[in-house]
Amino acid sequence: MNQIGKISAGQLFTLAFLTRVIMMLTVDSRVAGGKNLQDLTLSALCYLGLNLVLILPAWFLHRRYPELDLLEISGYAFGKAGGLIALLYAAYFLFINGYFLSNFQLFMQNEINTQVPVWVISVALLVVAAYGAFLGLESIARTSGFVLILAACGMIFLLVTLNQELRAENFTPLLYDGPGQTLQGTLLFLSRSSFYCVIPFLLPKTQGALKCRYLFWNVGLCLFFIVMIVTVCGTLGPVAGLQNFPVYTMAALAQSGPFQRLDAIYTGVWVMGLFLTTALDLYLISLCISFLWGKIAGRVAILAGAVLLVVGCNTFLASGEVVAAVFGIQTILPATMITGVLLPIIILLAVRHKDKTTQKKEVR
């Protein structure tokens, strides 16, 4: 029997996998370096190793207080000042989602000649994502189960179709241009790892074999990254480095039977991943706000968050230059590391200190 309101470890990491998949699908050659994309396979391996280490602060917090989320623990550690942390996290989720959404909008504007205005698609996406956030974590997690099946089928079909396009001569030796590309790729992956910030909120709402599933998820994610990079490089060769969205270019080359282009699968998987990420982020924003001002404020925050995202992404984040400046690795990486790693460490130290002080008082 399961506890009400909790999701299983399998669901948590399914959700995590799908929201991370868009990291790979949206690899931008300009941001990733673009000299030798094949080196990103090494970045994926480094990312795997770092994932195992950087998750530890959140894990230790969960082990200490298995029933409390990060906000409740920070409230215990800092009292009213814990509210500031809630605000900080809400701002981060809004920021990182703005990054993912504006990236998607730029892709739509520059790569796809769509007859539907991009802002209309964004609004529709945010309406559905806000609906998901209203329904709550269990609904989002269950939806991710279906999306995983669809995404897996789509990606496997795409990769099998592209198999005949792979050319051995397209591959170059690893680290041919030095370790710069690997480092850049690792930083890119790390900067987009909003999962570190999400997991301290979701662990107390999860039951099941967490360690085993986490390892499985990490290895699965790394394998997915490697397979995608190898296919992109093997299909496109040096051209991959010149593409804004090399995975999309690769998907556009694929064709099967009556279907002339299979890039619809790529965009479909991206939209599904983006929808889940947005729904989850809006849900977490509502958690942060309801921690401060109650449940109704949390519900309003979902709508307010969605409106802010639409307006922001269609006004000052509408141009590529602004997006590159606001959402460069130099801004996202520190934001992710501070909220995902540093803050949990500070909270962990603070609660340890508080527990020790309390214990000493009790002994006296």
Binding site: M1, N2, Q3, I4, S8, G10, Q11, T114, Q115, V116, V120, I121, A124, L125, V127, V128, Y131, G132, L135, G136, E138, S139, I140, R142, T143, S144, G145, F146, V147, I149, P258, F259, Q260, R261, A264, G268, V271, M272, F275, A279
Partner: protein, 493 residues
């Protein structure tokens, strides 16, 4: 209020006073029958409702034995006790102590014997009303299964279930619902298999239902489900299906006067299961199961995808196919979305008309639909041939999964509009919305989408495939054991 209090009050020992009450309640209704006679010198009466009872049974089984019996007792109370214990041979007799009980029995087809000087009455089960004979259910036919379907009287439906499940743990619980109709409803479940929380939840939901009338099982559905696009309450007309579901830990709700039995909790994947699946060989059953999944996707998404691709993404189609479609659509005056919506609505109108018109006229409706509207609209250049083909294929596919027809018909229209306005983006986001909606539903704390999400590998033996009975028989799928379920199986008391 005063009337209600009076009904709950015990009988008077004066037969006349009791009869006055009954006459007042029935207000000289023509079907209220009272046969007065004497037992020795004591006045007595048999009350009944015309049309609900078997008159011959009353004459031979009640009146004759009473009149023939050597009743020597002097006071009415002793006389009726003697009759109850020694004179009558009827097996179904119940002692009633107040007016409410007596009225309930009368309206359920019992005859009530009252004797002057006695403060209780005896009700005899002499039901003899006419009803539709047991037939094969027209909405749920099976190639290899029983030909019996539920009928209207509750008691007969109960007996049909009991006959198939000879198990003392099979329980039937009676509830009376509907302020005005006082409809009898039976909860049917298997003790030890069902989760007690589920039974309690259903009981509470039904008792709390504020209804004046309960004339069909459908009246109760809103009180048993969460209200998503797809219903978490199943309906069946087949006793064998109901027995199968009850054995898996579900509760069946039988409503007097309707052949439709409600099944709770009912999961999304069950809409694709039919009785024949379990009677056919596994490989064929698996094949038909996949056909149903495919038909569901065609019925729901095909018109929307067709409109989306035709309007916004023609580059996805191979050139020869694209040329054919654009050639056909070039001569029509309406956009693709308008065509699809009009055809879809026209089809639904014809379907509704087909359901309501007398059988003799249904052929005429089909001819008008197929020839006049379909053929003529295409040849007149009002509607494109490919659109008509897509809508026709969609309509036929909808009948492969009849349990989902209602939601499919509405969602299809939504997807046509989404595809026509936003292209494949609209379809995809609409699909996400539907997924979210069904994922948020729980059927009495069992996830509606189980065992697909939350995923249960063991349960895939009746979802992805239909495994052989050698496997299914070993570990029957209990609804409360589904992944993500918040209830657990009860113990046999």
């Amino acid at each position: 209020m005063q009337n209600k209090l009076q009904r709950e009050s015990p009988f008077s020992d004066s037969l006349l006073e009791n009869l006055v009450f009954f006459r007042q309640e029935f207000r000289d209704s023509i079907d209220f029958v009272q046969r007065e006679f004497k037992i020795g010198d004591t006045p007595a009466v048999i009350l009944s409702i015309e049309g609900l009872i078997d008159k011959r049974l009353i004459a031979q089984g009640i009146l004759k034995p009473i009149l023939d019996a050597p009743i020597l007792q002097l006071d009415g109370d002793a006389k009726l006790r003697y009759i109850r214990d020694h004179a009558l041979a009827t097996s179904d007799q119940i002692q009633v102590g107040n007016f409410a009980e007596a009225m309930d029995k009368l309206m359920s087809g019992f005859a009530v014997l009252a004797v002057d000087g006695c403060r209780f009455m005896i009700a005899f089960g002499v039901q003899g009303f006419s009803f539709r004979s047991i037939q094969e259910p027209s909405n749920e036919k099976a190639q290899r299964g029983s030909r019996e379907g539920f009928v209207e009287p509750l008691q007969i439906n109960i007996s049909m279930v009991r006959r198939r499940m000879k198990n003392p743990d099979l329980m039937f619980e009676r509830l009376i619902l509907g302020e005005k109709t006082q409809t009898a409803v039976a909860l049917c479940y298997l003790r030890g298999a069902v989760a007690p929380e589920i039974v309690q939840g259903i009981r509470t939901a039904l008792r709390d239902a504020q209804l004046d009338t309960v004339l069909a099982a459908g009246y109760l559905i809103p009180f048993l489900e969460q209200g998503g696009v797809f219903s978490s309450v199943g309906i069946s007309e087949r006793p064998d299906t109901v027995c199968g579901k009850v054995a898996e830990g579900r509760v069946a709700i039988l409503v007097d006067g309707t052949p439709n039995v409600l099944l709770v909790p009912y999961l999304f994947t069950e809409n694709f299961q039919s009785f024949d699946d379990y009677a056919h060989r596994p490989f064929y059953a698996t094949f038909t199961r996949w056909l149903k999944y495919l038909a569901f996707f065609i019925a729901t998404f095909l018109p929307g995808i067709f409109v989306a691709i035709g309007t916004f993404h023609p580059e996805l189609l191979p050139e020869p196919l694209l040329m054919k479609i654009s050639e056909a659509e070039a001569s029509t005056p309406f956009p693709l979305m308008a065509e699809a919506i009009v055809l879809h609505i026209m089809y639904e109108i014809m379907r509704e008309a087909g359901l309501r018109v007398p059988e003799t006229l249904s052929h005429a409706v089909s001819i008008v639909g197929a020839l006049v509207i379909g053929e003529t609209a295409v040849s007149a250049g009002l509607i494109g041939g490919p659109t008509l083909l897509v809508v026709a294929l969609t309509a036929i596919s909808g009948y492969v999964v009849p349990k989902l027809y209602e939601p499919i018909a509405v969602i299809r229209l939504v997807f046509i509009i989404a595809g026509g306005l936003l292209g494949l983006w609209g379809i995809l986001l609409g699909f996400m919305g539907v997924l979210l909606n069904i994922s948020s539903e729980s059927a009495y704390r069992v996830p509606f989408t189980a065992p697909v999400s939350p995923f249960g590998f063991r349960d895939m033996k009746d979802v992805i495939i239909r495994a052989s009975w050698k496997i299914l028989g070993k570990n029957p799928e209990m609804v409360q054991d589904m992944p993500g379920s918040h209830v657990k199986r009860g113990r046999r008391s």
